[in-house]
Amino acid sequence: MDTRPLSLLHAFRFVIAILISVSAFSAQGSDSQEIAKRAEQLKLDLIELNRELYQFEEDLLHPANTQLALFLSIDPDSNFLLDSVELRLNDQIITTHLYREKELAALRKGGVQRLYLGSLADGVHKLSARFNGQGSNSRYYRRNKALRFTKDDSAKFIQLVVTENDRTREPLFKVKQW
């Protein structure tokens, strides 16, 4: 009787097991297929319902005439590694955000983050943003950017843009009012 458990074939079994990164998905059983069909329809219904609910909430809480939306984007050529941002409206903190690697990559790929959505009365207001992060020269930066703006009876959109000085490679923070 052979009790030897150590066939070298084991080695190859493991090698095959680690081929997962290029392996194709196995076929699904009939129950899983049936569930997948139902799930797809329900997901679509729920996406539609969520869309309707968001729209309703926006109309109710932030109607166009009082709406203020603040966005942030990063110039794709900028090497500034944004760690966090803090926004103040009329000297009150309205939002802060700590960035994950994936979010920074999304911003570099042309993504625009909506940082804040709220309601604001007509008139002159002060927005200030504090940016923390690391520049391409490995220096750590904490910069403030302030803006006075006038809110009228239409929705106000303000975009904060992180960019970089071509010559000094120092980060620059710009504001764009739409």
Binding site: Q28, D31, R38, A39, E40, Q67, G111, V112, Q113
Partner: protein
């Protein structure tokens, strides 16, 4: 005078009524500038928030930005909806930006459609930064590997020799070489390149490096070079996912070069891992085998007894999970907080309470069908969370609108139109009386801001008319909003029930699939147990039949 005028025209009620008038019920057209809106949707997709992305993508967006829409559909696993979108985006038909070609290629790749993926990637040639080029080469090389052309994959990678993407690609190429050829030289060369490109600084990089070392060691062991294999196995970190397999094979290699002591040390180190992990059961059986081969019969007997004990306990655990799964469901047994009666076995052995559970969970999701169903469960969980959020929000809205409706009725009743008309007439008269003297005195208009006062007075009539209109429409608007809230609450309730039912069915399916896999595991473990028992019998039989003097034994405890 100015202050008095300002006070008189600032009526609190106007704010409330105008707000109501302005917040229409219909789904508003997109008010956001296109550039912001499109960037916002792209941000959600690229951050992996596919549900949020799909919620904000309206029909116009879905048509205009079909590639980003396709990426969101793929990310949220909406395969049937994605198919016609991809069909319309066939690489021969579309005119797209470099970002879109790249994204489209990745969507095709992840949908297992390598030919259109390669066609999409081809449109990007010479239009990419170095960093993007590495990712681009990774996907192209993987496509060629999937299509069975390792040579083309190697050509793709040959001119880009930097970055993590390329390191992963070389590893995949090595695995493909190893699986497809009897000569392992090419695979070993590819692994060497993968290793040289890997900085091994982040966790992902370190794990890849461990896998590279493990694969190289395995290949060399298969080639009959255990001494070289050991050098690679030694480099695998002990906290790596692949550590039990590496330790086991390291033991095999040590035994091949007759270093029995190092072999058993390596296998002893595997024992602290969960038995369900690959390499652990093999190590438990290898220890007594090595002892027996080294002539240490009593240790061999002890080790076989110990191994049998491990396997028996594991069989109990498998039986316990198998019986609990149909009773409590997959989610409760393997994902949610423990505390179920009969699950105490999770708490034993380890300081980290979920070690065994995590090992079983990992073992089960290695099956692609189970993985797919668990992924679906996660997505449905996200949707369930969103419905819970909306349920609370709608309750708040309903209460707030109900209170607003009440206060609105009270304010409307107390709103004396005639009194306001009288006051406007009076203010207009006062303004007119002052207008001539103010204009006659040089500099006074400016110092009083007279023009602004004039504008305010002139707008009073218009504002009052607007207010009256709002008063008439306000009550209806509030009633309509409340009706809408009720309708949305009904929809949320209905979808919540449908979702719960589907989640239950997914869980049932997971229980069925897991039970099949656990049954296979039970058979394997039973096989290991039997081998252990047979090994023990074999030794005892040999001892019984032995004609040698007992003193020849190296250890006398069992004589």
């Amino acid at each position: 005078m100015v202050g008095q005028l300002k006070r008189k025209v600032s009526w609190g009620i106007i704010g409330l009524l105008l707000l109501l008038l302005n917040s229409g019920l219909s789904v508003a057209a997109r008010t956001m500038p296109d550039e912001l809106y499109e960037g916002w949707a792209r941000f959600q997709v690229e951050s992996g928030r596919y549900l949020d992305a799909l919620v904000i993508m309206d029909e116009v967006y879905q048509n205009d930005q079909a590639v980003t829409y396709a990426a969101a559909l793929k990310g949220f696993n909406l395969a049937a909806t994605l198919a016609p979108v991809l069909e319309a985006l066939s690489p021969n038909k579309a005119e797209l930006s470099p970002y879109e070609w790249f994204t489209l290629g990745k969507v095709f790749y992840h949908s297992d459609e390598c030919i259109p993926a390669l066609k999409s990637f081809k449109r990007l040639k010479n239009r990419l930064s170095l960093e993007d080029k590495q990712e681009w080469a990774f996907y192209r090389a993987n496509c060629f590997i999937k299509l069975g052309s390792d040579t083309r994959a190697a050509q793709v990678l040959s001119d880009i020799l930097s970055g993590q993407w390329i390191s992963h690609a070389y590893y995949n190429l090595a695995m493909s070489y190893a699986a497809g050829s009897t000569s392992k030289t090419k695979a070993l060369v590819a692994l060497r390149v993968a290793s040289s490109l890997n900085q091994s600084t982040t966790l992902v990089e370190r794990e890849l490096n461990d896998r590279v070392n493990y694969a190289a060691g395995s290949l060399l062991l298969g080639e009959g070079q255990p001494d070289r294999a050991i050098e690679f196995f030694k480099n695998v970190h002990l906290d790596s996912m692949i550590a039990p397999q590496a330790l086991y094979l390291n033991g095999v290699a040590q035994l091949e070069i007759n270093d029995f002591r190092s072999a058993t040390q390596s296998w002893y180190a595997v024992k602290k891992h969960a038995l369900i992990k690959q390499g652990v059961a093999e190590s438990l059986l290898a220890i007594p085998y090595a002892y027996e081969r080294g002539g240490y019969v009593s240790q061999a007997i002890e080790s076989y007894v110990e191994a049998s004990d491990y396997f028996e306990k594991e069989l109990d655990t498998i039986a316990k999970i198998s019986s609990l799964l149909p009773k409590h469901g997959f989610r409760q047994v393997l994902i949610e907080e423990d505390g179920l009666e009969g699950l105490e076995w999770f708490l034993t052995k380890d300081v980290a309470r979920n070690t065994i559970r995590a090992a079983y969970y990992t073992y089960l999701v290695e099956d692609q069908e189970i993985y797919g169903q668990v992924e679906l469960m996660e997505e449905l969980g996200l949707l369930q969370d969103s419905l819970k959020y909306w349920k609370t929000q709608l309750e708040v809205f309903a209460k707030s609108l109900g209170a607003k409706k009440k206060s609105f009725s009270a304010l409307s009743r107390g709103f004396d139109v005639k009194a306001y008309q009288r006051r406007i007439r009076q203010l207009t008269g006062e303004y007119k009386a002052l207008d001539v003297p103010v204009r006659q005195k040089p500099g006074m208009q400016e110092s009083l801001g007279w023009q602004r006062i004039a504008d305010s007075v002139q707008s009073l009539d218009a504002r009052l008319s607007k207010l009256l209109k709002a008063k008439e429409q306000g009550k209806e608007a509030l009633a309509a909003k409340l009706k809408k809230v009720k309708a949305l609450q009904d929809s949320v309730g209905q979808k919540e029930r449908a979702l719960s039912s589907l989640i239950k069915d997914v869980d049932k399916n997971l229980v069925a699939l897991s039970s099949q896999r656990l049954e296979k595991l039970r058979k394997d473990t039973l096989g290991h147990f039997e081998r252990s028992e047979q090994g023990l019998i074999h030794i005892l039989q040999t001892i019984a039949e032995s004609k040698q003097a007992r003193t020849n034994r190296l250890d006398g405890r069992y004589q």
